[in-house]
Structure formats: C-alpha cells, structure tokens
C-alpha cells in the first residue's frame, strides 16, 4: 500500500471542501484514478471505511460495527442499537466464529467483545 487509507480519506475530504457541485464528480474520478495508479485498489474497502469514518466523525458521530454469532431477535437488536445516537452509523455483521454473544467495534479503535469465543479464550488461555 503506497498510502494509508486515512491519508486517502483526508485528501478526498479536504479536496471536496474547495470544490463546487460540478467539480466534485471530476475530482472524485481523479481521486479514484490515483488510487488505481498507486496500486491501492485492492484496499479500496478500507479506504471507503476510512472516508466513512471521517465523514461521520465530522458530523459528530461514530462508526459502530456490531458482530453477532447468528441472527438475533429484533427486540435485542433494537435494545442494543438504542444505546447509540442517530449520528452514529451502525453496521451489523454475522460472524459464526464468535460462537455466541456480540462484539462491538467503535470507529475501528474501541472494542467491546462480549462473545463466547472471547470468554472461552480467556478461560482456556
């Protein structure tokens, strides 16, 4: 990877600030081309996540990633998502490796792992 995803995100957001609506599209195209040229296309998912994080952070929100071992009831999900603000972006994912429980990651930095996998790992370490 030539540049870190955060660098790309910063470039895009800072670049878009000075552009009007007509210029935005060509700037985004140029930005995408430069990613391709730098050979960082395989990391596009991480770059998009970094951009998303920046945008959400700019608005005072956070990116919340919630992993479940399997599909959970609507009530439990609502109760859990209800703990976050409307500015937060909540993404849910199924990860069977958790065995049971939930793992919550905030802005890709903070982690609350209340999964059975973690508990078993702690017991049998």
């Amino acid at each position: 990877m030539k540049y870190q995803p955060e660098v790309y995100a910063q470039v895009l957001i800072e670049g878009l600030k000075s552009k009007n609506n007509s210029e935005e599209n060509s700037f985004i195209k140029k930005f995408a081309n430069s990613i391709k040229k730098n050979g960082d296309l395989p990391k596009i998912k991480k770059i998009i996540e970094a951009i998303e994080r920046r945008i959400v952070k700019k608005d005072g929100g956070r990116v919340i990633e919630i992993e479940f071992a399997r599909t959970v009831s609507e009530t439990a999900l609502a109760k859990l998502t209800g703990q976050f603000t409307k500015k937060d972006i909540i993404k849910t994912k199924i990860n069977e490796q958790l065995v049971a429980g939930v793992r919550i990651t905030i802005d890709g930095e903070q982690e609350l792992d209340n999964s059975l996998q973690k508990k078993l790992a702690k017991i049998f370490k």
Partner: protein
C-alpha cells in the same frame, strides 16, 4: 826384531795388506752395516718409548674419561630422578584435573538430562492440557450450539448494559 818377525812367519807386506783389507772391511761394515743398524735400533727404541708414553697418556686419559663418565652419570641420574619426580607430580596433577573436569562434566550432563526430562514432561503436560482445553472448549461450543438463543440474548443484554453504563 825383523828376524823375530821373520821367524814368526809374519810378512810385513802381507800383514800390511791384510791390515788394509781389514780396515777397508771395517770401514765398509761401519758405513753400510753398523751405522744403519745402530740407526734402526735407535729408531725402534724411540718408537717403543713413544709407544709406551702414548700408552701411559692413553691410560691417563681413559681414567679421566672414566671419572668424567662417572660424574656425568651421577648428574644424569640426579636429573633423571628430578625429571621423573616432576613428571610424576605433573601427571598426578593432570590426572586430578581430568578427574575433576570429568566429574563436573558428568554433573552438568546429569543436570542437563534432568532439565531436559523436566522440560519434556512440562511440554507433554502443556500439550495434554491444550488438548483437554480444546476438547472442553469444543464440548462447550457444541452444547451452546444446541440452544444458543438464551446465551446469545444474555450476552447481548449484558453488552447493552455495559454500553449504557459507559454512555451514562
């Protein structure tokens, strides 16, 4: 006097001739026999004397050599005794050192072997523990998977409470 000589039958001329002959013979014998013989005898005497002197000198030297040999032998004996004594001491010291080193080595080898055995035992115990943990873990996972709903909900609700506490 001449008559007497005549009566005695002595012929002066003959006597003179004989005397001359005798003198010539004496001279010849002296020159060619007596003197060389005398010289030969003198030379032989000198040679014998020289030989005797040489023999005496040789005997004296032989005695001196014998004495020197005895002295040297005594010194060599003393030195040999000293060297043997030194060598014995050194060999004894070396032997003691070898024995000590061998003892230390044997002790180290024994300690290493004991440590190795202990490590192996610990490794096997750890392996066994790991395997047992894996079996228990798998059994627990299988049990949870039979009815995961309750555990899932409990864990999720606990996570919710934790977030609530954090944000409060």
């Amino acid at each position: 006097m001449s008559e007497l000589i005549y009566q005695l039958g002595i012929d002066w001329k003959l006597l003179l001739a004989q005397g001359l002959n005798f003198f010539i013979l004496l001279t010849v014998l002296t020159i060619f026999v007596y003197k060389p013989l005398l010289k030969l005898l003198e030379n032989r005497r000198k040679k014998i004397e020289f030989g005797l002197l040489g023999a005496k000198e040789a005997e004296r030297r032989l005695n001196e050599i014998e004495e020197l040999k005895s002295e040297k032998m005594a010194v060599a004996d003393r030195e040999a005794i000293q060297i043997i004594g030194g060598a014995e001491k050194s060999a004894k010291k070396k032997f003691e050192e070898i024995v000590k080193s061998a003892e230390v080595k044997a002790e180290t080898v024994l300690k290493d072997a004991a440590l190795l055995a202990e490590n192996k035992k610990q490794e096997e115990l750890e392996k066994l523990k790991g395997e047992a943990n894996l079996i228990i873990k798998e059994a627990l996972i299988k049990t949870v998977e039979l009815d995961p709903k309750n555990i899932d909900e409990k864990l999720i609700s606990r996570a919710t409470e934790m977030i609530k506490k954090k944000t409060a």
